[in-house]
Amino acid sequence: MVFSSITFLFFFLPATVGLYALATRQLRNAVLLFASVVFYIWGSGTLVGVLAVSVVVDYGLGFVAGRAAANDDTRLRRIAITLSVVTNLGLLAWFKYATWLIENATDAGLYTGSAPNVVLPIGISFFTFQSMSYTIDVARGRCEHLVNPIDFAVYVTLFPQLIAGPIVRFHEIEPQIRNRRFDMAQVGEGAIRFSHGLAKKLIVADTLAPVADAAFASDDLTMGAAWIGVLAYTMQIYFDFSGYSDMAIGLGRMFGFTIPENFNRPYSAVSITDFWRRWHITLSNWFRDYLYIPLGGSRGSSGAAYRNLMVVFFLTGLWHGANWTFVVWGIYHGSWLLAERRFGLRNLDGSRSPGVRRASTFLIVVVGWVLFRSDSLGDAGSYLVSMVSFDDLGLGLLARTTSTRAVLTLCAAMLVVLVPRNFTTGPFLVTESTRTGDAARAVLMVAVLPFALLLAASGAFSPFLYFQF
């Protein structure tokens, strides 16, 4: 079930909020768990079993980790963390990477059997990371373990962020799992945030999708078409994923949760280091807390720090999918970060040549999206060549799928590059108490939201991009 579907918008969401509002405080987590399981089964069927394995294992390990933390038992702590990591990464390895690994082994002549036909459970990259986060945080003594299995299951399966994040580390949400408020003001905040995300997804991302799809599917790209296509994808992925995150944050707010922000104007970044503090923030934080710092972080020699950085970005790329394109994309970004660190170019406050820095960073990111979006490294290479082939500047075949609305939408979407670095629309819409804020909310809710709902009602939406990761 996707947030922009008719089933979710007009049936599931009103029913769930209604049930939740009617439930007593003691039953609210049970209502959320029931709704989350229905939500997951709706899209994944029997693969809910994979989710259940992750939940059951880490719920049990939580007791072990809790005891280890209470007794400061390093050995027991390691056992708990190791079992959690092995279980969750094992699930991830089998369901997400087994086919790809075997195909690569076959290509290399190391294996002669056939690759298994494994179906990828939706959101496995997200819920396994959350599940691991619980055991690690408890083992480190950062949080108490949860005794009530429903409470823990709600943490892992909470439907607003179950299948595409944001990835919530356990210590960020622990108090809210146990006790939280439910009132109409919070529901109102959530409604505004959710509506904002829905509009980003349906009005912007889905309009740009056919342009990007056509460009990346073409065998005969002109230079103009290649640039329009990758810019369309650049905006599509941002509005799609950040729109989903806005919806998740808004839905969480309706049920009393404060889900962490996932985006902070990433296309206004002044360096790649800055970009990764603004793009998919919760994934970056997860890797920082549970991989980069345990590896040694930036402590120790420069060589060790660079190695740690590259390991993190290699895995960040791989996390996005079982394809060499994602691996190379991760290494590409890691290399830029390494270069910025080596040559002192991180410039996180944007004080030096901000215009040039923002433009160059944006260009680097756009080129990276070619790797990310292409089906293979060969395709990515051909696409990049098209971007610098001056033979034909026209749109070529892309003209067929580039409608006036798509062109106008792309132009409007590109304005996000120019927005001030510290202005984020989602929080502004919820918190701004001036007349400007009131007017912006009114436009969103009275004009934009009904239009988005009508687009949803027409049934012409595409799935969220980040489900596949």
């Binding site: 009103p14 809910v48 505004i192 027409s458």
Partner: protein, 356 residues
């Protein structure tokens, strides 16, 4: 706490509950799709973990939700009326706001080649009839220009066709459909209305077999006709128009038939007894001729219609009988595109236009 936040929460859920409210009140626009609405799946406890079961429910809710019609209409109205764009890849907006099927071509070249192969080398040029509704000729270039042009068909077939037309343009049949294009075509849709189709059918039969057309076999029958391309755009259009059925009283049999999306893809029919056009007749075309087949099929001893823009043609073409004549629909953009437009359009421009 700001009071407006509470109001916005009520507003959101009021909007979300509108479709359920409309459904509860049995308010639903007329179907915007051409086919019958899907039925909801039965409750089956053993399928509760089957994701296909939920897909069926999604599909059912999507189609039955009351606001779907309004959603489609809004989408189409904004895209089409405001931006002059089509929200559907199947539809293109042409000159004068007329709507056209873009003709996503599978590969019509082999079928066109098949049509021409037996007729032209055998000196049977007259056996090839091109059916060209005149009002559309002049829009082809406008329609084709913004879009891509697939590679031309097999050069031999193309050259033979062009030589054939250039040698004797007046020999190409041009059924006149009258000076009343609004009556012959839908208001914006570039397809024939039932009236236009009837006029074209009569002209076609008259061209091949003068005197055979039986006006008395046409029985008026009001029909609910949705303009095909407007429907693709999502416009609701449920106006009833004057239609007709043809009944010549002959023994008639449709041997095989395939349809898709409400449109005839291919059909093989046979008539025994009565005055008919003898032999085997092939018709190659798309939506114009596909809609006309029921009007003329009783006039041909054997009629084989092949929709050339459709995929999945079920038979080996070479196994079919040799044609005695071929009728080619030359109204779609596909034909000039397939045959390299400039020369064919030039020839078409020189053809006599009959406004009467």
């Amino acid at each position: 706490m700001r009071p407006d936040l509470r109001l916005w929460s009520l507003w959101l859920f009021a909007l979300l509950l509108i479709p359920i409210g409309m459904s509860a009140a049995d308010i639903r626009p007329n179907a915007v799709e051409s086919g019958a609405l899907v039925l909801g799946p039965e409750f089956e406890p053993d399928r509760l973990l089957d994701d296909d079961y939920y897909r069926e429910i999604d599909f059912f809710l999507e189609e039955r939700t009351a606001s779907r019609g309004i959603g489609l209409w809004t989408r189409a109205a904004i895209d089409y009326q405001l931006f002059n764009d089509s929200p559907s890849r199947e539809v293109a907006v042409g000159e004068g706001d007329w709507l056209f099927g873009r003709g996503w071509i599978d590969n019509p070249c082999d079928k066109i080649d098949l049509a021409l192969r037996p007729a032209i080398p055998a000196g049977q040029e007259d056996a090839v009839t091109f059916l060209i509704p005149l009002p559309k000729i002049h829009w082809l270039a406008d329609l084709v220009e913004p879009h891509d042009r697939p590679p031309a068909c097999a050069p031999d077939a193309r050259e033979r066709l062009l030589e054939r037309i250039a040698a004797d343009p007046s020999g190409v049949a041009l059924p006149t459909i009258g000076a009343d294009p609004e009556g012959s075509f839908y208001e914006q849709d570039s397809h024939w209305s039932p009236l236009g189709r009837l006029r074209a059918a009569e002209a076609l039969i008259d061209h091949i077999a003068p005197g055979l057309w039986e006006a008395e076999a046409v029985i008026p029958a009001p029909v609910l006709e949705l303009n095909t391309l407007r429907r693709f755009l999502g416009y609701r259009d449920d106006r009833s128009v004057d239609g007709f059925v043809v009944d010549r009283g002959v023994d008639f049999d449709i041997a095989e038939q395939t349809t898709g999306l409400g449109l005839l893809i291919w059909q093989r029919s046979r008539v025994s007894g009565g005055p008919v056009i003898p032999g085997t007749t092939y018709m190659f075309g798309d939506s114009q001729l596909a809609f006309m087949v029921p009007d003329i099929e009783q006039y041909f001893e054997e009629l084989i219609f092949i929709g050339w823009l459709r995929t999945g043609f079920p038979l080996d073409l070479d196994s079919l009988p040799q044609p005695d004549r071929v009728i080619v629909e030359a109204v779609e953009a596909a034909v000039p595109r397939a045959f390299a437009t400039p020369m064919l359009l030039d020839v078409m421009e020189r053809l006599p236009v009959d406004d009467g």
